[in-house]
Each structure stands twice: as structure tokens, then as C-alpha cells.
């Protein structure tokens, strides 16, 4: 399994994602430079966290025009696995590969803290090793992570079961107090209709080793590494 980690100027989770893929998981890793129009034969593209191009305009608004994003779009159309984390999720929304948008946290403040997520889909490559309803503990780190979509889009997402992760409390209840940023319906991560493009605000690459406070993030990386081929074949 070959992971490609995209590097925009201003990206900073590239090395963390690379570390997990390469050092923790022992999978093949290639960094994809934003100016490259080549995905170097990778099986899963990760759009990592950061402030691509400084995000001075609107998160992800410039990054979607990077040459590498044309290839990522083609790759997604062909069913390739695309995984946007934090800033990567914002880029995917701007690029139209996922519906909706990420707006400023309801607190109007940056938040870096642990959150609990309930897993609502396990039939996709990214969560194949999770159980439905399982509660994962994964940290967030963003100032603009409040998921927003118009009512029609939101109800379509819900009807088609495209919500993969929802912020919840330790017992798995998706209550307002467990929502760290004001996301509609406590949404922390969504997938496209085909199931091959995932966007999520929390950072699984920050909890793939016990010494960092938890290993739930590793489950997602393992899911991709082991489950990807199955999905591609079907």
C-alpha cells in the first residue's frame, strides 16, 4: 500500500502523517509536492493539516487551484482513496470533492483538545477496522472547523449515510456539550457518495502511538492500509 502525502506551502501535518505511515505502520510513503501534476502511483492520497498558502483568504480557497489538485480530482473520480484531514478537509470542500464548508468555530477561538467521535460508517476503506457505534478518542486542532451545509445538502448527507464521524461524549451521546466547534449535527467527518473521499477535522495522525496519549488514530490508518484493495476491487 502506497500513501501519498500532499505538501502545500504552509502544510504542517505532512511530516506527522508521513511518520505514522512510514515509521508506525511500515507502509510505503511518498510526498506529493503541490506543484507536481503526478501522484506517483500512490493508492491513497492524504491531504494533511496546516495553513495551505497561509489560509489568509479562506481556508483551502487557494490550495484547490494547486496543480496537484487536478490530479487528486481525477484520482477521486476513478475511485482512488482521498483522505482530507483538518486543512485537507477544508481543501476538499473548496475543491467540490465534498459538500458543505468549514466555518469559524462557534467559540471564535482556536481549539486544540481531545474529542470523542462516534463512528457511523464501517463499510468504507477508512473505517473498515472499526465497529459501528465505536467511540474513538482523537484530538482536534483548528480555528475553522465548524461544519456547515444548507438544509437540503445536510438532509441528503444524513439520508445517504455520508456522516462518518460525529462529536460525542465519552458515553457516545452526540450532545451539544460534546461539540467543540459548533458543527451542524455534531459532524466531525463526512464521506462522498461513492465512499472513497473522506474529510475529517480531527487528527488521527496525532494519536497513533500510546506515548502521544492514545492509539485510536492508528485504527483508521490500519483500515486504509488493509481494507483499501478490497474497496478498489469492488
Amino acid at each position: 500500500m502506497k500513501f501519498g502525502v500532499v505538501v502545500f506551502p504552509g502544510t504542517w501535518s505532512d511530516r506527522d502523517c508521513g511518520w505514522v505511515v512510514d515509521q508506525v505502520l511500515g507502509q510505503e510513503l511518498v510526498y506529493l509536492w503541490h506543484k507536481d501534476a503526478d501522484l506517483k502511483g500512490c493508492d491513497c492520497v492524504i491531504l494533511p493539516g496546516g495553513f495551505a498558502y497561509g489560509d489568509y483568504l479562506r481556508t483551502g480557497a487557494i490550495a484547490r487551484f494547486a496543480p496537484v489538485m487536478d490530479r487528486v480530482g481525477d484520482f477521486a473520480d476513478r475511485g482512488g482513496l482521498v483522505w482530507g484531514i483538518c486543512n485537507g478537509f477544508q481543501v476538499l470542500c473548496e475543491a467540490g470533492l465534498l459538500p458543505g464548508a468549514l466555518i469559524r468555530n462557534a467559540s471564535l477561538e482556536f481549539r486544540c483538545e481531545w474529542t470523542h467521535l462516534s463512528v457511523e460508517r464501517t463499510d468504507i476503506a477508512f473505517t473498515s477496522r472499526c465497529d459501528e457505534g465505536e467511540i474513538l478518542r482523537i484530538p482536534i486542532s483548528h480555528g475553522e472547523g465548524s461544519y456547515f451545509a444548507d438544509p437540503a445538502t445536510l438532509s441528503r448527507l444524513e439520508q445517504r449515510g455520508q456522516v462518518v464521524f460525529r462529536y460525542c461524549d465519552e458515553q457516545g451521546r452526540t450532545v451539544p456539550s460534546a461539540n467543540p466547534n459548533g458543527s451542524l449535527h455534531n459532524i466531525a467527518g463526512i464521506v462522498n457518495a461513492r465512499g472513497n473521499v473522506l474529510g475529517m477535522m480531527p487528527h488521527p495522525e496525532r494519536c497513533a502511538e500510546a506515548e502521544l496519549g492514545g492509539v485510536d488514530g492508528l485504527k483508521l490508518f490500519r483500515s486504509v492500509a488493509e481494507g483499501a484493495l478490497k474497496v478498489l476491487v469492488s
Binding site: 506551502p9 506527522d16 486544540c112 486542532s141 487528527h203
Partner: protein
């Protein structure tokens, strides 16, 4: 010479006379400006240099002492930690967000210049009380987050205090820690005649002109007009600069990298040349990329535009360097070359506009001989007259709820403290810890200073700051290695302030020598006064790093296992002077700070370290402000577990309030599984360190039988008051 003009460049007429004498001519306008900024207190340390020599700066692990962009110490397995702390007080008083943001940006570049990758940021902050000082507080916290979060370096530790004396003069001290292979450490020396000088990163604008001079004056009602002297940060650009410099450091095309900070290009070129005997430089300001039209050579030489670096490139390798910066969409420009004439020559499109001896710029400022007088000691506290403790539980809640002791979660959750996948001890406990990837090494980092102690006794207060920083490191199981200091003081022209500075430096020196901790880098910020009236307390902030060979053996403060023995290491005395308890409960800032015996301090360190290394301890926490009971409450809160203790029966003359809330130094709270008790007891005996059993971990309450019983929920409610 026109007095007004001299005041503009912050030179005295005596200094001007020295300049004319040395040059054997009058300096021109450009030269005067260049000398003005480099001879400012901020750049020349003319009031503090003589004192700073008293600080120990050598030791077996020191790879780089003071004088470079940052200091460095060996941490093992071929790695060195590079670190420095720096103030950005004046800019933050005027423009809190940008002042703090560019303070962070500046200290990061100091670490980059050493060829090291920055892995952690810390911030030591002081404000006036809230809500009056919320403009400063909110702006600074947002600015630190705005820069650090965007550039992707975790902000892992620091401190925040609120006291009246900082209402007009908030303190913002930023520390950055980086890692480098010891044999790849770079030094910013302009070596090799004919080598090229390249300016990289941001274009040069008119921002920040006279920033260094501004930082060397007291604030007054006209200070707001100095807003143009505050720079604006661009963390995105610095992120690109960081990555490009890391790529650069791996080539042999560069001789040196130098940060452009205070006094901009003038300082960068002069310092770089000044570090190599006999070296000089010739630059042409016409080659400097600019962001606005009509800039004069004066503007270019004095601009403090952020996110710029000077690179000394081996002759003939310029294209290589240029292409590295191009890959990151950064401009780089050849602006001159290294010479061997000892002169800094500035051209404007070929015409000479300034020519000054490098040593005159860097070392020429006459040292100021200031006089210190001890003020009347007016801070008596009659401990025996304090009324006895009425309700220990209520007092505890009041203390936990007070601004200086309440949880800082509301602040540090606004900082990304996890990026880099290295933070193995997160903020909120004693020191934070970063692992060194690819090894088992853990790097513990902290900042500390109780300025109230320093106010009451600067000599003792400075020692206590060093001791507490060391305890923070020890409490994680790491061994303290070295110090960086940021000396924040008021106007040293006032004898009582200079006395404070002298005393504090002596105290730092004494404690650092006793604990064998070299001071490898630092910064001095003077003139933290407003209108000559309100002066800050002496605030010598100590930044410290330490190392643990295997971070798997690290300790944190929170209680971990039910049934563990909760022990107090070290002895308690009637140390209520300058305590949080006396301030919060009795409304007084008075008394003599706790006495410190550095031999006992070391002994306590040895016991905790030895016990930690042998795996006997489950947790460790330093006893600091608020004393034993506040420390114990923090252990409960951080671990989510209560503790049950028999009533405390202090032996006279120890008072009950002092036993609970006194701030005797050299103490830790540790937890030990029962099976390891004999070993820990014998360790303590061997080092002649007092050890007392407080109680057993477990349950939902913090309880001393018959004296107090407070639920974890009540503790949390009081403590997390700042979390909005």
C-alpha cells in the same frame, strides 16, 4: 549635534562624542541611524553587559554559549538542543496581537539560524488584573496562537501571572527550542573574503524602523504613536522560510545563516561580521528587494520587516541557494559580500552612503556605569500575627479560583500543542516533554519566575526561580541541563531598579552555579515603566531544558493508581512571606520569600531522580505557589482521583496554615506503590531528605480527616474558572 536628532536615534551627547572621536569625523545621517540602533540598550546591553558576565556559561554539555543567535547543549546520541528566550514587551504593550506574534516569529528565526529545526515554543506572560487588562491578555494569547498555530510548531508550556504592576507594561517572553545534530550546528559568522551575502524571505518595508530604540525607552502617552515601530507578522512566509533554511542547512553551499531581528539589516550584517575577527562586509541597498517605493538607504538599513534572513553563501554557489528558495516561492537577492577590511560599507547603487568599523557598531557603545541603592526594606510580615486558619477547604477553593493559580486550560487549548507528534507531556503539569524522534530521548522544557518573590527580595527571588524551574524538570523524571534567561526590569537609571537587576543577576548566577546549570543564551528587557511612575516588579524569567534518557520512564503530576502512597518530599517551614495564601486570604504582598538552601534543594532532586529512574514513582509534582495543599489538589485534578489523608498535625513551631499553604521550596509530592516504599524511604534517608506520608490515593475527595473534605467536582469547578 542637534539634541532632537540625537534623541530620535536614542543616542546621548556623550555617546555622540565617542563616535566622532573614534571615526575622527562626524557620522552622516545613515551612519548615525545605524549606530543609534546598535547602541540602543536592546542591542548593545550597555547597562547590563558587565553584570551578565557573572552568569556561568560553560559546562561539559555546552556546545554553544551566549553570543550566537541561540545557545546549544548536547542531549545525547549526537543531538543538541538549541534554545533561547526573548522579550517582546514594548511592542506587545502597544499592539498586543502583532507584538506577541512577531515575538514568537523572531525567536523561531534565532533557532533556525543555528541550523536547528524548532520543535517547541514556550511563553512566559505577565499582565495586569483582568478584566481591566483583557485587551493585552486577549491580544497576546491570540497573537501567540496566531503565529505558532499557523507555522506548525507546538506551544507546549509557559506561565501566566496577573499583578497590578504589569497593567501598563505587560511582559511577553517567548522561548523556542530546536533540535540539531551536534555536528551540523551552524554559527552565524561571516567567514571567507569574497563569499556572498544573500538576503532571503520577505521584502523590506518601512515597518519597525527604530523598533530597537523604541524598546529601550519608557512608555509614555506618545507611545501609541510608535505603532509604526511595531512590525506585522506573516507566519506563512516564515513557515516557507523555515523549510527552505532546513533544506539549505543540509547543503555545504552556506557558511552561515543570520536572523534579521531588532535593528534589521544593520544588526544582522554587523553581528555576522563581528563574530569573525577582522571580517567586514560590503552591501548595496539598491539590491535589497522592497515592498514600497521611495525608501532611502536609511530606511532599508533600519527596517525591521519580519521573516528575513541573511545567508552567507560560498562564492560560486549562489544559484544553488537561489533555487532552494525559489522552490518555496521565496525571493533571494545577492546584496553584497564578505570582506577582510573590518568595515561595514553600505552602498546605494554603487555610491558609498556609510562606512563604519564593525567593532564600533557591535562593541563600541560605552558601557554605562550605573549605581544601585537598596531601597528601604518595607515589606515586613508578622507571621505570628496572622489569624489562624479557619476553614482549610474554603481557603483551598479560594486559592484554586484565584487568577494566578487557576487552570490554564482555557489558554493552552488555544495553542496547538500537539503538532509534530512529539509532545509526550502536554501542557498543564510541571514541565512539558518532547520526544526526540528516532531515539528514546525526552526533552523537558519549562519557564519559571515568581516575580512577587523577586519584588520582595530580588537576590533570593532569582534563586528561587532557578530552583523551581529545575524542580519542574525533575518532576518529569528528567535531568536539568541548561538555562536561558530573560531579565525584565524597569528603568535601570533609577538606583533602586539597578540594584534589583544586580541582585537578581547575582542570585541567578549563584543558583545556576550551585545547581551546575550554565546559562547559554538570554535577553535583557529594561525600561518596563510607564511615565516614570508605574514600574514592573523585577522579573528574571528562567527558561530551562532537561533530558531523560528513556521517555518511557517519564512522570507526570496527576495521581495514577488507587492505593498509592502519597508522599511529601522535603521539609516544610513557616514560609508564608510573599505567598499566594497571604495575598489571597490576607490581602498582603509582604514578608521575606521562603529561604532556599541549595544543598537541600539538590538533595531533594537526587532523591526524586533516583526514585524515578528506578521506576519507584507513579507520579511527581513540584510544590510551588499555594503550597502543599494546592499542589496536592492539582495532583488530584490532573489525575482525576482523590486522596485520603489523616489530619495534619504539624510539629511546632510549624503552623497549620504554613503546613498547608506555605511555600517552602525544595519539595515534591510523589506517589509510590506500597511495594516500593522501603526503597524510597532508604533513598530519602541516604540523602538526608525529609519524607512524610500524607495519605493514600483514591476516591472522589481530597480529604484531611477532621480538617477538610472537598469533592473533585468542587475542586474542578473552582479551578477551571478561566475556561470560558
Amino acid at each position: 549635534m542637534d539634541e532632537r536628532r540625537l534623541r530620535e536615534v536614542a543616542l546621548t551627547s556623550d555617546e555622540y562624542r565617542v563616535i566622532v572621536e573614534q571615526l575622527k569625523r562626524a557620522p552622516n545621517e545613515v551612519e548615525l541611524g545605524m549606530l543609534g540602533v546598535l547602541w540602543s540598550e536592546h542591542c548593545s546591553y550597555k547597562s547590563s553587559k558587565a553584570l551578565l558576565r557573572r552568569l556561568p556559561s560553560t559546562g561539559p554539555g555546552v556546545v554553544q554559549g551566549p553570543g550566537e543567535n541561540a545557545g546549544a547543549v548536547e542531549i545525547g546520541q549526537g543531538w543538541s538542543a538549541v534554545f533561547k528566550i526573548e522579550s517582546h514587551n514594548h511592542p506587545s504593550a502597544i499592539e498586543p496581537y502583532q507584538g506577541a506574534a512577531t515575538g514568537v516569529g523572531g525567536i523561531i528565526r534565532d533557532v533556525i539560524a543555528m541550523g536547528a529545526r524548532p520543535i517547541a515554543l514556550l511563553d512566559s506572560l505577565r499582565f495586569g488584573p483582568l478584566p481591566e487588562s483583557s485587551r493585552h491578555f486577549d491580544g497576546v494569547v491570540a497573537g501567540i496562537g496566531g503565529y505558532g498555530n499557523c507555522i506548525g510548531i507546538p506551544t507546549v508550556a509557559g506561565e501566566v501571572y496577573f499583578e497590578d504592576c504589569y497593567a501598563n507594561n505587560p511582559l511577553v517572553n517567548a522561548m523556542c527550542v530546536g533540535l540539531v545534530r551536534t555536528d551540523e550546528l551552524m554559527r552565524a559568522r561571516a567567514e571567507g573574503k569574497g563569499n556572498s551575502l544573500m538576503l532571503v524571505g520577505a521584502d523590506t518595508g518601512r515597518d519597525g524602523i527604530h523598533g530597537a530604540s523604541f524598546a529601550s525607552l519608557e512608555l509614555d502617552e506618545n507611545s501609541a504613536e510608535r505603532r509604526p515601530a511595531v512590525q506585522v507578522g506573516n507566519p506563512f512566509l516564515e513557515k516557507c522560510l523555515l523549510e527552505a533554511c532546513m533544506d539549505l542547512a543540509h547543503t555545504d553551499a552556506v557558511v552561515a545563516i543570520q536572523d534579521l531581528g531588532a535593528a534589521g539589516l544593520t544588526s544582522a550584517v554587523a553581528e555576522c561580521a563581528g563574530r569573525t575577527a577582522g571580517a567586514g562586509a560590503r552591501i548595496d541597498v539598491a539590491m535589497v528587494p522592497r515592498r514600497e517605493r521611495g525608501m532611502t538607504p536609511y530606511d532599508v538599513m533600519l527596517s525591521e520587516s519580519q521573516e528575513r534572513m541573511l545567508v552567507v553563501v560560498r562564492r560560486g554557489r549562489e544559484r544553488e541557494v537561489e533555487s532552494i528558495f525559489q522552490a518555496w516561492d521565496l525571493t533571494s537577492a545577492m546584496i553584497g559580500e564578505v570582506t577582510d577590511d573590518g568595515q561595514l560599507t553600505v552602498l546605494d547603487a554603487g555610491d558609498e552612503v556609510a562606512r563604519l568599523p564593525v567593532t564600533l557598531l557591535t562593541d563600541g557603545a560605552p558601557l554605562r556605569r550605573l549605581v544601585g541603592f537598596a531601597p528601604e526594606p518595607a515589606y515586613g510580615l508578622a507571621v505570628e500575627e496572622l489569624p489562624p486558619l479557619v476553614d482549610a477547604g474554603a481557603t483551598l477553593l479560594k486559592l484554586l479560583n484565584s487568577p494566578n493559580l487557576a487552570s490554564r486550560r482555557g489558554i493552552f487549548r488555544r495553542y496547538d500543542h500537539m503538532v509534530g507528534d512529539s509532545t509526550v507531556i502536554a501542557p498543564g503539569g510541571d514541565a512539558a516533554m518532547l520526544r526526540v524522534k528516532g531515539t528514546r530521548l525526552g526533552l523537558a522544557v519549562t519557564t519559571d519566575c515568581n516575580a512577587r518573590y523577586c519584588h520582595l527580595d530580588p537576590h533570593l527571588g532569582a534563586q528561587l526561580a532557578v530552583a523551581e524551574a529545575a524542580r519542574n524538570i525533575i518532576a518529569t523524571g528528567a535531568r536539568p541541563l541548561a538555562v536561558t534567561d530573560c531579565l525584565n526590569f524597569a528603568n535601570p537609571d533609577r538606583p533602586e531598579v539597578y540594584w534589583e537587576l544586580e541582585e537578581a543577576v547575582q542570585g541567578l548566577a549563584y543558583a545556576c552555579r550551585s545547581l551546575e546549570l550554565p546559562v547559554v543564551s538570554g535577553n535583557v528587557s529594561l525600561y518596563n515603566d510607564s511615565n516614570g511612575a508605574s514600574a514592573i516588579w523585577p522579573t528574571p524569567v528562567v527558561g530551562m531544558v532537561g533530558v531523560i534518557e528513556d521517555y518511557g520512564r517519564r512522570l507526570s503530576a496527576g495521581l495514577r493508581t488507587e492505593g498509592d502512597f502519597v508522599l511529601l518530599i522535603g521539609s516544610s517551614h513557616n514560609d508564608l512571606g510573599g505567598s499566594e495564601y497571604v495575598k489571597v486570604e490576607h490581602g498582603q504582598v509582604a514578608g521575606r520569600p521562603p529561604a532556599l538552601d541549595l544543598t537541600r534543594e539538590r538533595a531533594a532532586h537526587r532523591v526524586v531522580l533516583a526514585a524515578a529512574q528506578s521506576g519507584y514513582l507513579h507520579s511527581a509534582h513540584d510544590c510551588a505557589e499555594g503550597g502543599m495543599l494546592v499542589a496536592l489538589a492539582e495532583c488530584c485534578l490532573l489525575g482525576g482521583m482523590g486522596v485520603r489523608c489523616p489530619g495534619l498535625r504539624p510539629e511546632p513551631p510549624l503552623r497549620l496554615d504554613a503546613a498547608f499553604f506555605g511555600e517552602s521550596p525544595s519539595r515534591f509530592i510523589v506517589t509510590v506503590p506500597s511495594r516500593a516504599m522501603p526503597e524510597v524511604q532508604s533513598l530519602a534517608r541516604r540523602h538526608n531528605v525529609e519524607l512524610s506520608l500524607l495519605g493514600l490515593a483514591g476516591g472522589e475527595h481530597l480529604e484531611f480527616e477532621g480538617q477538610l473534605k472537598v469533592s473533585l467536582r468542587d475542586l474542578r469547578e473552582a479551578w477551571e474558572v478561566m475556561v470560558t
